[in-house]
């Protein structure tokens, strides 16, 4: 391959996140010979890779919702709290008991499951729109505006669960976070659907252009007639919605809702996933695929430290070091230096 092709590839915004992910996977393979093995049991696929994909799903959802927010120069630090609120809403509404009637197990929920799911999604959307209103109508700084819900949200979630961990006893609900479809975890289909929806919205409508324009120069976009306010509002709304989905997925997976710990620090991982994927925190151009790769990097990293037996205390340090390396290599200066291009200010 000639060097200019190579240079062009190295300059591609997805190059570094992909390389980082591959390196992590290879490291895992080096320590664990069966890392890449995938086997089929009862038509379900199992293996480390599937496990990573599955566990990365909630984070990927939240990070996908966060991407347009960051692209419009915003940030939403309340997503972790929204995850907890929505998980609590679903858990309280579903609750559930199992009866044995005529020797058959019958599950009964407090309210019909679809209704509970819709309610949780609606709550997430409302949380997002609340944030969006504070930012676009009231004009608050995004980090401050969402900080309010980040703090208050935990309280709301605990009120909903009366400060306790609510256990869910309703078998059908567990499909969401632990079920399988066509041999793959069902959660992967949800992530794929959200990714596809976002991709269509941003590529097949003008939304992508408007979001990018607002992120780069909000004033000029406003002068060009872009509905900057409405777009900002709905971008936050959508972020709340994806957080709700993640909340449902997590509560379904652990069969409970914990107002205190569900989605804890998830906002930071989500922001990190978005940045690792090559979207600048300064707003502007964004990459949805990059975000998904970012989420996978974070999850793989967690998996790696765990499987290498790194003590939990050192876990966060290892994570920080890897993140540092990826972020540093993403700097334009270094990239240009790497591909031997002179620095252009």
């Amino acid at each position: 391959m000639n060097t200019s092709r190579l240079a062009a590839m190295a300059r591609h915004p997805l190059a570094l996140p992909l390389i980082a992910l591959i390196v992590l996977l290879v490291v895992n393979r080096a320590f664990n010979a069966t890392f890449f093995h995938i086997e089929s049991k009862d038509g379900h696929l199992f293996g480390s890779l599937i496990d990573i994909l599955n566990r990365a799903s909630p984070l990927a959802l939240v990070a996908l919702g966060m991407t347009p927010v960051i692209a419009t120069r915003g940030v939403d630090v309340s997503v972790g709290a929204v995850v907890a609120i929505c998980a609590a809403v679903a858990a309280v509404l579903i609750g559930g008991q199992m009866h044995v009637e005529n020797g058959v197990e019958v599950y009964v929920s407090n309210v019909p499951m679809p209704l509970a799911i819709l309610a949780a999604l609606a709550v997430g959307l409302i949380c997002g729109l609340w944030n969006g209103t504070l930012v676009s109508v009231v004009g608050m700084q995004p980090i401050i505006a969402t900080l309010i819900l980040m703090v208050a949200g935990r309280g709301i979630a605990q009120l909903l669960t009366s400060g306790q961990i609510i256990t869910i006893y309703y078998q059908p609900y567990f499909f969401l976070g632990a079920g399988y479809l066509f041999g793959l975890p069902f959660s992967l289909f949800i992530v794929a659907a959200v990714l596809l929806l976002l991709w269509l919205l941003t590529q097949r409508t003008a939304l992508g252009l408007f979001i990018t324009a607002i992120g780069i120069n909000p004033v000029a976009s406003y002068f060009a007639g872009v509905k900057a306010r409405a777009i900002t509002l709905w971008v936050f709304g959508f972020c709340g919605l994806t957080a709700a989905m993640a909340g449902l997925m997590i509560s379904s997976n652990v069969k409970s809702a914990d107002g205190n710990n569900a989605g804890l620090l998830m906002e930071l991982d989500a922001i990190l996933a978005v940045t690792l994927g090559g979207t600048s925190l300064g707003g502007g151009k964004f990459s949805l695929i990059g975000t998904v790769i970012g989420a996978l990097i974070i999850q793989t990293l967690t998996y790696t430290t765990w499987s290498l037996g790194v003590p939990p205390e050192a876990n966060l340090v290892v994570k920080a070091v890897v993140v540092f390396i990826v972020c540093v290599t993403q700097s334009d200066q270094l990239r240009q230096w790497l591909v031997r291009k002179p620095l252009e200010a």
Partner: protein, 508 residues
């Protein structure tokens, strides 16, 4: 190809064989440039000729591909702006690059804030800044944030910043583009003093009159190549234009009134009665017809831009009425104004106009797409067609439609913004300083385009601090003073003097 008589003096700075390419653009090729102590040396050339690039090579913003720089007889490598400053070179770049949130004083002394006991000495700082600005006859509150001042003052602050430390070379890249006559005179007086002290000054402007007023020597660049270096006295204006453009152009239209020869205007497009906004302008009665250019005459701060902002819905009217095509209208945002067929090229191109990292194509279709909404997305084919059509029609100099607009030269950015509005097929265009930073030939092209559209029935509100230009292209001129309209003049009866006379209170 140096035609200037070899000066007895030795240049303090020489740049020889300078080459610089960007991906897809050869910005400079084998350019030689000399700077003498005690002289003002002006670089002239069309938009995209490479003037700013030559400066940025000299100040270490861009590394050269080839060429040498010698300062005071010794070869010099300048690879960062800091090393240029260390070598005594101070620069005011074309795009004001200060910190909008910091105070004026901080902006001027950023990087060497005066200290006392390890803390910033605010008193000394503010006093020094005020003193420096009063040298430019500017009395403003230096503790207020920079972006609370209009762009002209920001430009003066940028100049003051360059003068804040002693330098042997001062570089000014289009420092006068948003200054009015008086301020330019003040700046020139200052430059003459500096020159007398032996400073070498590199100056860039598109105003021919300014070039002849201040420069001792002129270097002409064309398409990134050196056309020649001349003593100002040896290069009459017509010849200079010819050298810059490389062909004969009809300079007459630069001086002859144009609008007056045009067809009679049509029906009223927009009319305002008692329009006003607290704190900006009040009681404005304006009427603009289809196929007519209404010029806004007035000095800096007379309310020209404020009027434009009201008409475009950026600021909301809080008194009076506006009607469009006979129907009353109310604009709460630019979006509303755009829906009524109004387009606005703002004076602050960088802040309110371009979306720098987006491509020329995306910038051109942005307003059209915004009006069509989210879902009626222009196909990529349509976008390409529209962008390429205007790139061709307006002669926008860019390697292709995918180049980020921020990488174009200033004049070409302005043309792309004009294209943005033309693509929406507006009923009225508000042009606020549309020819700021635009070269002579392009100025003619742009005004030709605008007047051609006007003949097809476009209404135009034309704002320019060059009164001559306003008089030349307008059918009527509404004269503003102290944020109020004091009268109107017809193209036939108006010349620059009549406008100034009215402003001075001669007759309303």
């Amino acid at each position: 190809m140096t035609t200037a008589t070899a000066s007895a003096a030795v240049p303090i700075l020489t740049m020889t064989g300078i080459c610089k390419s960007f991906p897809g653009v050869r910005a400079l090729h084998d350019v030689t440039f000399r700077l003498f102590a005690g002289e003002v040396h002006t670089i002239m050339g069309q938009n995209g000729a490479g003037k700013s690039t030559l400066i940025k090579v000299l100040t270490g913003v861009h590394p050269t591909d080839a060429g040498q720089i010698t300062l005071n007889g010794t070869a010099l490598t300048i690879d960062t702006p800091r090393s240029a400053e260390a070598a005594g070179i101070r620069t005011v770049y074309q795009e004001v690059n200060l910190c909008p949130n910091l105070s004026v004083a901080e902006n001027i002394y950023i990087g060497n804030l005066p200290q006392k006991n390890g803390r910033i000495d605010w008193q000394t700082l503010n006093a020094a800044a005020a003193r420096l600005l009063s040298g430019l006859a500017l009395q403003i509150d230096v503790t207020r944030p920079l972006d609370s001042y209009p762009i002209a003052i920001q430009q003066m602050v940028a100049i003051a910043r360059a003068l804040s430390t002693e330098a042997q070379i001062l570089i000014l890249d289009e420092p006068t583009s948003s200054l009015d006559e008086d301020e330019v005179q003040r700046l020139f007086n200052l430059l003459r003093q500096l020159k007398a002290r032996g400073m070498a000054i590199l100056f860039v402007t598109h105003f021919l009159a300014q070039t002849y007023a201040i420069s001792d020597r002129i270097t002409v660049l064309r398409n990134g190549e050196l056309e020649g270096e001349y003593l100002t006295g040896d290069l009459p204006q017509l010849k200079l234009i010819h050298k810059m453009v490389g062909r004969e152009i009809d300079v007459d239209s630069l001086t002859q009134p144009q609008a007056a020869q045009m067809a009679q205007p049509g029906a009223t497009f927009i009319s305002t009665h008692g329009m006003g906004h607290k704190g900006t302008v009040h009681d404005l009665d304006l009427e603009i017809h289809a196929g007519e250019v209404l010029g806004l005459g007035g000095l800096l701060g007379s309310g020209r831009t404020e009027t434009a902002r009201l008409l475009f819905g950026v600021d909301r009217c809080d008194s009076g009425a506006v009607s469009i095509n006979g129907h009353s209208a109310r604009f709460n945002s630019p979006r509303d104004a755009i829906k009524h067929g109004i387009g606005y090229c703002p004076e602050d191109r960088k802040k309110e106009g371009i979306v720098a990292e987006l491509s020329v194509r995306e910038n051109i279709i942005l307003a059209l797409q915004a009006r069509r909404g989210l879902f009626r997305f222009l196909s990529r084919k349509r976008q390409d067609a529209i962008a390429n059509e205007y790139i061709k029609a307006l002669g926008i100099k860019t390697p292709d439609a995918e180049q980020p607009i921020g990488l174009l030269s200033g004049g070409n950015q302005q043309k792309a913004l004009l294209a943005r509005w033309l693509a929406t097929e507006p009923g009225m265009l508000i042009l606020d300083e549309p020819t700021r930073g635009i070269d002579v030939a392009a100025k003619l092209e742009i005004m030709d385009q605008v007047l051609a559209l006007c003949r097809k029935g476009l209404a135009i509100l034309f704002i320019s601090s060059e009164m001559g230009e306003v008089v030349r292209v307008s059918h009527r001129i509404a004269v503003l003073r102290d944020r109020e309209k004091i009268g109107e003049l017809d193209a036939g009866q108006a010349d620059e003097r009549a406008v100034f006379h009215m402003i001075a209170g001669g007759g309303a």
